[in-house]
């Protein structure tokens, strides 16, 4: 029943979890942030299939991050799963509410409206002096089933948690893409009128996709906040959303795996660029994006796709 790609994907996550203790800690921490962000990108891939490019996905990312941060600041709850559940529920709820508005728009209007909504949250956070305004505030470390690991172990446990969240999300999204509702995204992009004629409500379909993408972004933001141990309003700023769109282009919207590979590659590229070109690292990233669009319009994911296609013929 389980297709080969899902099995390979799960094995890759297991392998990453197994080699983590042998990796240098800076790489583990980089991969933790990369995979946390990959969840947001995964949500973008879902919307991308339906022909939607949100420039405001950072809204849900920040909602997830701030939920975790506010829980550690104002309550005694430290259990990581409770925090993640709260972040997922809250960002999903925000996604559901904004969905009533956003699901009615397409193309650039959808992009701009999503951007506007994320900037409203940014404006509110900047105005909130009790939460440190633009400086943001510290996020205390959570406990993992009652244990509070320190130092290198904290990083490792968090990395495993992120991998667990990622593999679970990847599995569910893969299954969703194979379901009827998931499969309808592509025809919805191609011709809404035809789909409506067949008796499908495209708005409701897109609303569902929006809620899934928002929940994924919320979990991603929560994990990023725990990893970085700090939240600030920049997490909801449009450049953060732009970064996610960048990774989606780099990864390509073709496959679930590409979101994770692309996000890891993006963080690695950024890290190398900071190291080699201090002061002009943005040029490096821009060049990479340009080259990707010119020579790999389907993103990194298209490399796997191309290789897979000739197989049945041979």
């Amino acid at each position: 029943m389980a297709p080969r790609s899902i099995v390979i994907g799960m094995l890759a996550f297991l392998l990453a979890a197994a080699v983590a203790p042998a990796l240098p800690t800076w790489l583990v921490s980089l991969a933790t942030v990369a995979f946390a962000n990959a969840l947001v990108v995964l949500g973008l891939v879902i919307l991308w299939r339906a022909g939607l490019v949100p420039f405001g996905q950072a809204l849900y990312y920040a909602v997830g991050a701030y939920s975790v941060a506010l829980i550690t600041r104002y309550s005694g709850v430290r259990d990581v799963l409770a925090m993640l559940a709260a972040a997922a529920a809250l960002s999903g709820l925000v996604g559901y509410l904004t969905g009533f508005l956003l699901a009615r728009y397409r193309e650039i209007f959808f992009s701009m409206l999503s951007l506007a909504l994320s900037m409203i949250l940014y404006g509110v956070l900047v105005k909130t002096e009790t939460l440190g305004s633009t400086d943001g505030f510290h996020v205390d470390s959570p406990t993992y089933f009652g244990a509070a690991p320190q130092g290198g172990m904290r990083l490792l446990v968090l990395f495993w948690l992120v991998l667990a969240c990622c593999s679970l999300s990847a599995l569910l999204v893969s299954l969703y893409f194979r379901s009827v509702a998931g499969a309808l995204a592509i025809p919805a992009r191609d011709s809404e009128i035809r789909l409506e004629f067949l008796g499908v409500s495209v708005n409701r379909l897109i609303h569902l996709n929006l809620v899934i993408a928002a929940t994924l972004a919320g979990i991603g933001g929560a994990l990023a906040a725990i990893a970085v141990e700090h939240v600030d309003p920049d997490m909801s700023y449009w450049t953060t959303s732009g970064g996610f769109v960048f990774v989606t282009i780099l990864a390509g919207a073709g496959s679930v795996a590409a979101a994770f590979v692309g996000s890891l590659l993006f963080e690695l590229l950024k890290s190398i660029a900071y190291d080699v070109l201090p002061g002009t690292w943005q040029i490096f990233l821009g060049a990479v994006l340009l080259l990707t669009i010119l020579f790999l319009p389907g993103g990194i994911g298209s490399l796997f796709m191309r290789r897979r296609r000739p197989e049945p013929a041979s």
Partner: protein, 437 residues
């Protein structure tokens, strides 16, 4: 193939190099391993021009001259205690997550011994817990938020430069001494943490010093908005006697250009807490009578010393413009580290000190800088305080250069909270324990 002439040449050359390297190693045997320092500051983005670049320039000339042993006494020892400094520069632009990742890379991949830097308060707040976790000696440089040490005591993090409360308390004291009484005043500050904190501190200090003074307008335009037509109109209709602003960089310059064209700063003196960073670019465009601060007694307000003369000359010779306060801030941070390092080394009989030993020596240390004398008096010896000064702007038309007149100096205890008291609590409690004589 093995007789290819090029290969032979490479073979000879590498042999020669090996011999040379061996000789070199013999000749320089007692040279201690270098101290790797990661310098983090904005080399791109909006805060680069007025903060990041002077900061980086200062680190360049200081590292070069310290390594050559050319800095005047008491800093004439090579590098840090004889060990040369090996700098690694990192850009501060990017999100807090980027900065935390870069910080980990510096510590765990590049194995730097000390990190010196950070301009943004947000980045300082994000880095501090990571520094504690990685047990990495870190000297925060320009960021001004008092929250770093007020939220929690820190062991591995130091900040030599005083925090932002001092700037605004001194501004209030200067204004009230100079103008005798103020009944109405206004403020225009950027809508982000630095602007909000600056205004809060100034307002609280004014309330303590002159309870009758009232606020007319408290304006918070967007950060980096660059266009202030509506705000200037509002301020022109206000009866304010002074206007407080913690604007910096492009925003400050845009505000000056736009408001001077409409006669605002000529009518109501502006109090610019970070004004000094822009005076060289604004020149005669900045109206005389503007009250200028520079977050400490730095370039215009620095005490005369051989060290200051050397620093200014070396900086001007290299970059053909005078050092502004971010450059002085970096000098204070690096020389503080050097003082602590060498004190620890002397205590150890000349052997290279460990991080813990440098920390022990750093806590509470007092040292001279090109600007003044720094005392690590707050936060269990982790936060420095200095005296500070304010002045009134006057453009010298004959010499064609900016000057400050009516300079007033304030001792450190007059404008900083006493140890163990949070800044806001100190201001709200009426600045108890301030010693101004």
């Amino acid at each position: 193939m093995s007789h290819h002439p090029l290969r032979r040449m490479i073979g000879h050359a590498s042999g020669l190099l090996l011999v040379l390297a061996a000789c070199d190693a013999q000749a320089q045997q007692p040279v201690p391993a270098p101290v790797k320092i990661g310098f983090v500051t904005f080399t791109s983005g909006p805060a680069a021009a007025s903060f990041g670049i002077p900061d980086r320039n200062a680190s360049e000339i200081l590292v070069e001259n310290l390594n050559a042993g050319k800095v005047p006494a008491p800093y004439n020892q090579i590098g840090l205690g004889g060990a040369k400094i090996e700098p690694k520069f990192v850009d501060e632009a990017g999100s807090a997550a980027d900065q935390v990742t870069q910080y980990r890379n510096l510590v765990e991949r590049d194995h730097v011994d000390v990190v010196v830097g950070y301009v943004s308060s947000g980045n300082c707040l994000a880095i501090t817990p990571v520094a504690e976790e990685l047990k990495e000696l870190t000297v925060l440089d320009i960021c001004g938020t008092p929250r770093i040490f007020e939220e929690k005591p820190r062991h591995y993090v130091f900040r030599v430069n005083p925090h932002a409360t001092m700037d605004n308390v001194a501004a209030a004291r200067y204004v009230l001494t100079k103008m005798k009484t103020i009944s109405v005043y206004s403020g225009i500050n950027q809508n982000y943490a630095w602007g909000q904190d600056s205004w809060r501190d100034f307002r609280l200090a004014m309330k303590d010093l002159d309870p009758k003074a009232t606020v007319d307008q408290a304006l918070f335009p967007k950060l980096f908005s660059g266009e202030y037509g509506a705000e200037i109109s509002t301020l022109l209709t206000s009866k304010s006697q002074i206007i407080h602003s913690s604007f910096f960089d492009g925003d400050l310059e845009a505000f000056i250009y736009q408001s001077a064209a409409r006669g605002l700063p000529q009518r109501v003196p502006l109090v610019l807490t970070t004004g000094e960073t822009s005076v060289w670019r604004l020149g005669a465009k900045l109206p005389d009578g503007t009250i200028i601060g520079e977050r400490g007694p730095h370039s215009f307000l620095a005490h005369d010393s051989e060290l200051n003369t050397w620093f200014r000359k070396t900086y001007v010779d290299r970059f053909s413009e005078p050092p502004t306060y971010p450059a002085y801030d970096l000098a204070q941070s690096l020389l503080g580290l050097k003082s602590a390092w060498e004190k620890a080394q002397a205590k150890k009989g000349g052997a290279r000190p460990t991080t813990e030993e440098v920390i022990a020596a750093f806590e509470g240390i007092e040292f001279k800088t090109p600007s003044t004398t720094v005392r690590m008096a707050l936060a269990n010896g982790h936060q420095g305080i200095t005296d500070t000064a304010y002045g009134t702007y006057k453009f010298d038309k004959t010499e064609n250069k900016p000057t400050l007149v009516d300079i007033m100096r304030f001792p450190a205890e007059c404008v900083n909270p006493p140890p163990g008291v949070d800044s806001v609590a100190w201001l709200e409690g009426g600045m108890k324990g301030a010693k101004c004589d």
